[in-house]
Homo-oligomer: 145 residues x 2
């Protein structure tokens, strides 16, 4: 077992905001007003690949992706949700859950590497985070399965 | 319950080759020699989003992503594995498991929408499919967790 402690990579910390601690992962809001965009960052040191997850954590991550997808649909009613764990630039495992619309600037291409992020205003950032927390609390618990 | 039967979308069928039937998903090889690239297509009609998965299927899909990631690492030893369920062009749920290298043409950007696919020769396609099946059979069963 690793004795390293968990810390969010500085690039993720700088580009996103903690919304809630789910049982396994930090649920974060990407600070990019172009797309409704959540991140899940499992609180385990040294994780890079899906296959690095313990069996229990792999199942829990799937539950949390399920939850984040439902949350994003309630929050933004997107045309499609994109789920991805890439890690080409930041190796620490993190899962993107991104709402896509046919009218968004990157459609139908992927959002990663597309253009320049557009940070929210401080008020919008806090308002969205609060709204996401409220929606999350109103949802069925993710431990239902 | 839907009474529709499962069929792979024609675009996926045309761009990839069935390697093996896992308990939930078809494991397919993308016919693109630029990247070692697997697909998982859950055999459920009408699936589009992660949140459309039943609880049991969501857990099984995570097991199968775990397996496909390990398989790809054994087959191609990539620098990083990209896992993604997008569906912007083909809405039927399918999960990409793509091996990435710092020397590949799209690095560090995403592979989706990048350039033009480079189909394998018939011999290479069959050889890779056989090799993947052999590696899969040599791996621990995915029902271990």
């Amino acid at each position: 077992m690793s004795t390293k402690s968990f810390a969010v990579a500085p690039q993720i910390e700088a580009a996103s905001l903690l919304v809630s601690d789910l049982p396994l992962s930090q649920l974060r809001l990407m600070d990019d007003a172009r797309f409704p965009w959540l991140l899940l960052v499992p609180r385990r040191p040294g994780l890079e690949e899906w296959s690095d997850l313990s069996p229990e954590d792999a199942l829990q991550l799937s539950r949390e992706i399920h939850t984040a997808t439902r949350l994003l649909i309630r929050y933004a009613a997107p045309h499609k949700v994109n789920v991805a764990s890439l890690g080409n630039l930041v190796r620490q495992m993190h899962v993107h859950v991104v709402g896509r619309n046919t009218s968004d600037a990157a459609w139908p291409g992927p959002v990663w590497g597309f253009g320049t992020s557009a940070p929210y205003s401080e008020g919008a950032r806090q308002g969205i985070s609060l709204r996401l927390k409220e929606l999350l609390e109103s949802m069925e618990p993710i431990a239902d399965f």
